[in-house]
Each structure stands twice: as structure tokens, then as C-alpha cells.
Symmetry: C2
Subunit: 467 residues, 2 copies
């Protein structure tokens, strides 16, 4: 079953999970569908702009070919080719052996070669390889691929699952701080439980947790029917709902009220997430079957030192309170994503507060080039044809421009804090050429989706050998 | 009469012109309403987020006050205060004397002081002061305020006025290059006439013309009724229109298919605009009452040297052809906006092709901070309250971050091309503190809206004196 959409959003995650492949007509390397599917090791093609999708008629038209719901199509995620009809496929023996722990696959010559190369890689590389994962399941898969920690745990889905969406919607509709806090209180225990699961899976390895990043309008319904349901469920008039949804509309959400900007407007969000993270860390650290936890709290979308100072204070106050109360000895770090050009340019100032940097090269690429990851499909083909770009900069890091900011960020950050831990958590962390660049500029680790961990280990070794 | 809107778009320009003041509930210093109104010297307040505007009921609600269409309100554009009721106002004697050429105002002591200070300023400043203007009328006003050229002539309105919008819509709906060229041919003579008017008004002074910048969806209608009209007028089925409009929708238009990216996809756009500019230049230069023209063709949104090379070639080929055909001796320059962080970072490469740089600090601020000019209203008040930002970075240039890129761009550009002409055409060109920064980093000129030219002259002089 292949899910075909214009684009996907967090609301589609259930359908994506059920599907064997995902095909979208917009977007690219770092759009929602690509990032989520890659994380699961699922086949996905994004930005197939020739596709005309008619949701009402349930048809897809490509040139003169019209496909109906239920028709067979086959995807080649490596080349981006879409085939009408069914092409037989085969599961990778490496995946069978590593993820599904199939005994027969462990004798497959391909798996044995994988094992050998991985050993050589680990014996030679100097950089660590972490993973981007936000569930215990993904964390376990990544560990089995050799991940040495989580470099990016996105907390978005912790606001979506099951009934949680209603708590965050209540938060969004609340008219004062007290009601907002009451709504968030409902999320606290769920999120703490999520973090406990992840910390257990990563026992002894560092886990970088990013605080909430997406804009709030991603959490509210946009059809009238769903808005009516929301009004009814929250017991507020429909016009309040529609008014708030309209208020949350943004012209350029990528450059809008998201990331740390949300927690500055609503500090209670940062408080709740800190409590969930540190609460979970203290609990698993003190459990009978004690787990070693190394939480790193990462504040996203920082552009100025003042933003980080404001939120670091809140994180530390709340973390210390829980640590003191539980009598735990959990150590944690507070750091930031470097994903806004201004953050790289002022990395010396930001490193006064940040204990680590993680280069978010997806957003950094968006802002350094002024390219929206979801809209690049309209001009990227012309740019590649005319050789204006050597490749998709969301796929291979642009070393001249974006890379310049990464290099500068590392250098300036370490001028202030010589032992500053620096990593990368953008999609480039799983791209061999980009991984080699990361080694060159002195990053401590790269972090990529679980299924790309082996290739990142290899690339890191090649970088270390070639020097 | 005050026009009250959520935000304005090019379609509102007629209403804005008719109004004495403009009030919007979203946006800020550089949103459409602010830029257009400032250009005309018209009072405008943007981002009054407490306003609840009901277009259907024609009411504005602020707290418990409900105002109906026709009620009096008064605006103070300097403080941003909105008053219910009528407050008497008075025309500035400087504007009366300079723009309206009123003899009585020329004896007003305020005007005489203005004149004296302006003389002192001009005797001391080292930087030139140009203006942002795109009509002969605005150009004349700016010259009377002392502008020494046009630093930014936006060509957008040349696609909107009267019947022209139908030609550009025909271009957008065309299915092949031939039809696109046929549609653009209808615009050529209109645009050439526009440029002739501007060149005449600026006789002897340089005029920097920016090629088309906004994304194409700004030119298509978004209501069903208007789309039906469009289908009928262009003689194409309605579903073709709605499909194309849907195709043009972007998630983040500010980071989408606009600026030079349009002309790379549709080179015929660049061809038509070059023909209009150079055609006009050759014509007025050879007219009986000959005019001295110094056109500077500016390619917007450049992020890589390859983009500029691609378009510069098209510009030069078409310009040379017209110059040869008309036997004219017009000299012109080809340069670029530096408004994408990557352009500043690779200014050394870009200056191999660009003969001048104009720093577009509005977009540069958007991308360096990751702030959408139209959405910043949702978090800016909190940022100012908490002193996270010292001021609105769209109003006063952020010297630490954005300014760092400007400085770097000038330095690297001049490493390649020592005599590279550098200016600024963002709104900061009319802000005294920013003007002083521009002097410090060695810009040749600042360019600002006509009514801010006097203050820019003064600030440039203060910078020269204080050193």
C-alpha cells in the first residue's frame, strides 16, 4: 500500500505508518514525509511535481496515465522513479538481521560483509555517530545499527498521540496562564513516560532532547467540521475556535512563531517539558534496575544569546528543583541548535551560555539560501538542469555557504568554550560527503536517522583515514 | 478616511492611495502597507494586533470599543497610537514647501530651518543619498527632497496597473514558451513607457531597477468569483485556472519561487524587462531634449554566483542588441541585491560578475534572524518587553548579526572588485542609526523612501563629522 498525498503533516502519521511507501507531489529531502519515512526506514519519494492528485476522485494523473485508488504502483526510493504496476521487492538481509533479529539473515553473505565493514569503520573513525529518534522502538533499532546516543529527539509527536492533542488544543485556546498551565499538566505524565522509555533504551548513552519546535497552528484543526468538534469537546463557542485558528495563521510559518519563540511567549511550555525530561531522568536513574542517563536539553531556533539566557534560566531552575526534591544525582546539559544564520555568526556570545551546539543544517540551509524545503520543488529541477546548483542542498551540505557558517560557528563557539561539544542533527548527518565535511571542521559527532547510521559510521572512518 | 485591513497586498493599492491613513492588524516596519505608505509620505500603523476586524460586518473591535465603517479614528504614525474620534492635524510646512511647492510655506520658519540644516548636511556628508521610488511622481518628490538617484525602483506595480494584470495572468496560465512570450510582449511597451518617465525625472542621476521580485501567486485571483472572471476573460476552462492557482500556492512564499528564481525558470521575463529598461534608456538618450541616463539593472535574491551568471548573460545579450540597433551610447551596469545570507558569505565570488551590490536589508534581516516580516507581530512585543531584542530589527539594523553580513559582504566584494559600488536599499536606509553604520562599513550610498531622504542626509553628515 502506497500513501499518495500533496504533502504530509503530523496528522498523516498513522496513514504513513500503515503504508509500505509514501509518495508526495511537493517537498523534498527534508519535508515532513521524507524525514518521518526515513526515520522508519520506509521507502518515500517527495516532490514528484508531475503528479496531479485528486483527493475527491481518488485518482492520480501523471501525463496521460490515470491511476485509481487500489491500483498498483512501485517506488524506487533511491532513484525517485515511480512505476505503474507491481515490481517484486525483497527485504534487505541487513535489516532482517539487525532490526528483526532473524537468525537466517545473520548468515547471509551481505550481512556478513556489512558486519565486517562496520567493524573496520568503528576501529578507524574519530567522530561519534548518533541517531535522530523519538520513540523507544526507533532508539532500539538505531542502537542495533551502532548509534552511540540520540542526537535529536524531537518532542512534537508527544503532543499529538491519542488524547494528548486535546490537551495541547486546550492550551492553545486557553485565555490565561492559569488555564494554560492546567492544560499542560495533563501532558506532563504522558511526556515523562515517553522520556523514561527512551532513556531506558539508551541506557548509558547521551540523549539530546529538543524542546517543542513547530508553530501552534499545526496542532489545530482547519476544516469546519473538525473545528466544530473541537468547540464541542472543549465547551467553547465555535467562533472562539475559528478566531483563534485564524489568529494562528502565518504567511511564512517557517519564519514565524515557533521554536524557542513559543517558550518565550509561553514559558510554561518550557517548564512542563523540563519537568518531564528531568523527572524521567531522575526516576530511571533511581529505579531498582538503575539506568545511566545523560540528558541534554536542546533549545531550538536560537538567534540571540538573550533568548537562550531567558530559557536556560527556566530550565535550570526547574531541573534543579526536581533533582533536589528526588535526591538524585542526575547530570544534564543545556545547549542549543545552531540553525539560524545569526546564531552561527554570534556563536561566541551564544557559547557563553550553551554547553553544546547541534547544527540543525536543515533549517540552516533554508535560511542561508532562502529556500523553503517544502517549496523548492518548483525551481530545483531547473537549477539542477542548468547546473546552477551542483545538487540538492538539502541532500548534500553546501560546503561553500552553509558549511562556512558551520565552520565559523564551531570556531567561534570554541573560542569562548574550548571543550564545546559540537554535532550535527540535520539530514546531512547521514550523507557521506557531508559527514566527511563534519569531520574536517571538527565536529564531535554526527546524528542521522537510524537506517543511515551504518553509512555514517563508514563515512566517518573514511574521513579519519583520508585525513 | 482611514483604510483598516488585516494586511494589505498589491490589490489594495488603489484604496491605500485614496485613504489618508492606513491601519493594519498584522505586519510591521517592512510589510506591504508600511513600505507603500512610507513611500507616499502617508501615515500608517502596522501590526496593531489588538484590533479585531470583521470585514463582513464592517466593524473594528479594540477591547470593548466597537467602531463601525464611517466612524472617526485618528492615527499617530510616529508613536503607533490609534485614537477613537477626530483629532485635528496639520500639514508639515516642509512637505508643503518641498513637494507641493507652496510659496507661503517657503517662508515658514520650520521650512527655513530644514533648508539650513540640509545645506549643512550636504556640505559635510560623504555618502550619497538615493531614494526608493518607482513612479515619475515619486521620483520628482524624492529629487526635491535631495535624492541623488534611485537606489531601488521596484518593478512590481508595472505588472499590476490597469489591463497589465491580464497580460501577466495570461503569461502565468500559458502552457508553452511561445504563449508566455506573446503575453509578455503586451507588457513591453507599457513598461518601457514607465521607465522613460522615470529616467526623464532622474535626468543625470543613476537609476537602479530591480527585476521582478514577488512570487507569481500574488498576481492571480484567489476567490472563486475572480477565478471565474479570469477563466472567461482568458478563454480557458475554470479548472485550468483553479489548478494553476493551487499549483502556485506556497507554504513559505518568502522562501519560495520568487526573485531571480522566476527569471531562471522563465528567462523570457528577464528578456522583456531588459528590453523595456534599455529600450527606454536608448530612447530618452536620443530624444530631441536628450536626457542623461545611467541605468543599473539589479537582479534580486541572488544566492549563488551561477544564478547571477545565468541572468547577467541574458541581460547583456539583450541590452547590447538594443544598443547596437538604436546606435545609442547608453552605458549600463549589472549588479545584484545582497539579501540572502549566502550571497553575503560568498560576496567575493559574486563580485566577479556583479558591478554593484545593493544590500537588501529587509530580506537579509528576515533570513539572518529567521523572522518573517509579516508574522513577527506575534512575538515581537514579548521580545521587546523581556529585552530579548533591543528594538525591532526591521526598524533599526541589527549591527551585530545582520550588520556583520553587510560588513563582510562589502569587504569580500571589494577584495575581488576594489571599486565595487555598494549601497543599501532596505528600510534601514532611512533610519539614522543604521545610516551611521552604513557610513562606517564604507557604503557609497543609502537609499530610502522619498520622505526619509532629508533625515538620511542629516545622518550621513553626522556620521562623517563624528567619524
Amino acid at each position: 500500500m502506497v500513501l499518495v498525498r500533496h504533502e504530509t503533516s503530523p496528522e498523516d502519521v498513522g496513514g504513513m505508518w500503515a503504508a509500505q511507501g509514501v509518495l508526495t507531489s511537493t517537498g523534498g529531502m527534508t519535508s515532513h514525509a521524507a524525514v518521518v519515512a526515513r526515520g522508519w526506514g520506509k521507502c518515500c519519494i517527495c516532490g514528484a511535481s508531475e503528479l496531479k492528485i485528486d483527493y475527491k476522485k481518488k485518482t492520480v494523473t501523471i501525463g496521460k496515465t490515470v491511476l485509481k485508488q487500489g491500483d498498483w504502483i512501485s517506488l524506487n526510493g533511491s532513484t525517485g522513479a515511480v512505476y505503474a504496476g507491481q515490481i517484486p521487492t525483497q527485504v534487505s538481509p541487513v535489516v532482517s538481521a539487525v532490526v528483526d533479529n532473524k537468525v537466517s539473515a545473520k548468515k547471509d553473505p551481505i550481512f556478513l560483509m556489512y558486519q565486517e565493514i562496520s567493524k573496520w569503520s568503528d576501529n578507524n573513525r574519530k567522530m561519534n555517530v548518533r541517531t535522530n529518534a523519538d520513540t523507544p522502538k526507533d532508539s532500539v533499532a538505531a542502537r542495533s545499527f551502532g548509534a552511540e546516543g540520540i542526537g535529536l529527539c524531537r518532542t512534537e509527536h508527544m503532543f499529538f498521540e491519542g488524547d494528548r492533542i486535546w490537551a495541547i488544543r486546550e492550551f492553545i485556546l486557553a485565555e490565561d496562564e492559569k488555564s494554560r498551565k492546567a492544560a499542560l499538566a495533563k501532558l506532563l505524565k504522558h511526556q515523562q513516560k515517553d522520556f523514561e522509555g527512551i532513556f531506558k533504551a539508551m541506557d548509558g548513552l547521551p540523549v539530546t532532547v529538543r524542546l517543542l519546535d513547530p508553530p501552534l497552528h499545526e496542532f489545530v484543526p482547519h476544516t469546519k467540521k473538525d473545528q466544530q468538534e473541537m468547540a464541542k469537546r472543549l465547551g467553547i463557542p465555535l467562533n472562539k475556535v475559528t478566531e483563534r485558528v485564524q489568529e494562528l495563521h502565518e504567511f511564512n510559518p517557517m519564519l514565524g512563531h515557533r521554536g524557542c519563540r513559543l517558550s518565550i511567549t509561553y514559558p510554561e511550555l518550557c517548564v512542563m517539558q523540563t519537568k518531564a525530561i528531568i523527572g524521567a531522568a531522575c526516576k530511571v536513574a533511581k529505579a531498582k534496575k538503575a539506568v545511566k542517563v545523560l540528558p541534554e536539553i536542546m533549545i531550538p531556533l536560537i538567534g540571540t544569546k538573550a533568548e537562550l539566557d531567558f530559557l536556560e534560566k527556566i530550565v535550570r531552575e526547574n531541573a534543579e528543583e526536581i533533582i533536589a526534591k528526588t535526591g538524585s544525582k542526575v547530570k544534564y546539559m543545556v545547549g542549543t541548535m545552531i540553525e539560524i544564520p545569526r546564531a552561527a555568526l554570534t556563536a561566541d556570545e551564544i557559547a557563553e551560555t550553551a554547553e553544546f551546539f547541534s547544527f540543525g543544517t536543515n533549517d540552516l540551509t533554508q535560511m542561508t539560501f532562502g529556500y523553503s524545503r517544502d517549496d523548492i520543488g518548483s525551481f530545483l529541477p531547473d537549477y539542477l538542469n542548468e547546473k546552477i546548483l551542483p545538487s540538492d542542498p538539502f541532500q548534500h551540505l553546501d560546503q561553500t555557504g552553509v558549511g562556512q557558517l558551520v565552520k565559523l560557528g564551531v570556531e567561534r563557539g570554541r573560542e569562548t568554550r574550548p571543550n564545546l561539544k559540537c554535532g550535527i542533527c540535520g539530514e546531512h548527518g547521514g550523507d557521506p560527503e557531508s559527514v566527511k565535511f563534519c569531520a574536517k571542521v571538527g565536529l564531535n559527532y554526527v546524528s542521522c536517522s537510524p537506517f543511515r547510521v551504518p553509512i555514517a559510521r563508514l563515512a566517518a572512518a573514511q574521513a579519519a583515514i583520508k585525513g
